[in-house]
Amino acid sequence: MKPIKIAVASGKGGTGKTMVATSLAASIQSQTPVQFLDCDVEAPNAHLFLKPEIYQTDAAVIRVPVIDHHACTACGICVQGCEFNALAKLKGKIIVFPQLCHGCGSCTRLCPEGAIHEEPREIGTLSIGVTDTGMKYFGGKLTISEPMPTPIIRQLKHKVEYEADSLSILDSPPGASCPVVATVHDADFVLLVTEPTPFGLHDLKQMLGVLSQTGSPGGVIINRDGIGDDRIEDYLKGTPYSILMRIPFQRNIAVGLAQGELLTDWLPEYKHQFQELFRIIMQVIKGEMISL
């Protein structure tokens, strides 16, 4: 069977993505070995719950242009070719803004004088580790003050060996922009964690918009169930997506999470719920259920 990727995303931040992703991974690890990818590289925190032992850390780099000012004629072709305004021609000199560069390489190829070469610039790290239950962990981390998480997410996903039958769980960043798309675009299933509030629904709609573009099947988990109102249920009635699980708004859950405990260790009754959730997801992926 081909490798399977399940992504956990939300739109709104702080809805419980990492709680769900780590609980799901820990619940099924005994049946199916899991690879866990923390793609929330701007604020990675899955390691706080999984506590992996890191055995390899590599630099995440992008390749940025360096101008040879002797060879450069300041024709400005590179400036016009740059989609991201990472180059400017000021006072007859080409200036590079490395933090705006996406590392696409257009300027290097466009330069008629061969005056541009690329040098790696470190923007973060990629870590590989293993938990005490044998779960493989891959975590990316963007260096503070660096603006671009997406290249790290791509490189992190490249690090993983997706063998036949392998199962990967990806903890997505919040939002619905490039870093999220880079995480979920090739997922076989996307779990959307939301909360029954106006903000939760607003951002859930954005994520459903992303899924309509990527074509991945998905389902919704309502966290902090009991606060707010029924707006999520009402909205989902008009969509092909259904609610797969509800996690109540309970002080005791927060007490465990605040101590770095996995939900499924703190309240073991959830383990069965996550195993059941996984069974349903696998049915959808295998095509045994067309729609939820």
């Binding site: 400036v79 400017a88 000021l90 006072k91 705006l100």
Partner: protein, 114 residues
């Protein structure tokens, strides 16, 4: 001397824009000839690096000074490299006219490093 003022609209009566890179318009004012011209700021439509793109525009127009509410780090670096002075104003000025008068009177503060 040419100065460029970030503006919300395209006349001298327009409200000045406190943002540089993503100001809707720029008013180019020629102090020596008391003439002016408005430009739509194309950098507004950029996904990133609006400050650099706007500075590139000012540099191409051979402007001597940029007047805005504040300058972001990329705009600051670009304008410095282009040798363009940066001066800031606050919300007390309700028109481009008022900002030009304040500039002439020497009432605007110059950004260090420009």
């Amino acid at each position: 001397m040419l100065i460029m003022i970030s503006s919300q609209d395209k006349t001298l009566d327009s409200e000045p824009s406190l943002r540089f890179g993503r100001a809707p318009y720029f008013i180019l004012y020629d102090i020596d000839h008391e003439t002016w011209k408005a430009f739509e700021n194309q950098a507004v439509y950029q996904r990133g690096g609006a400050g650099v793109a706007a500075a590139q525009f000012l540099s191409d127009k051979q402007v001597d000074a940029a007047l805005s509410g504040r300058f972001g780090p990329n705009a600051h670096q670009s304008l410095s490299a282009a040798g363009i002075k940066m001066l800031t104003f606050d919300s007390q000025y309700d028109s481009i006219h008022a900002v030009v008068d304040a500039f002439k009177a020497g009432d605007l503060s110059e950004v260090p490093g420009s």
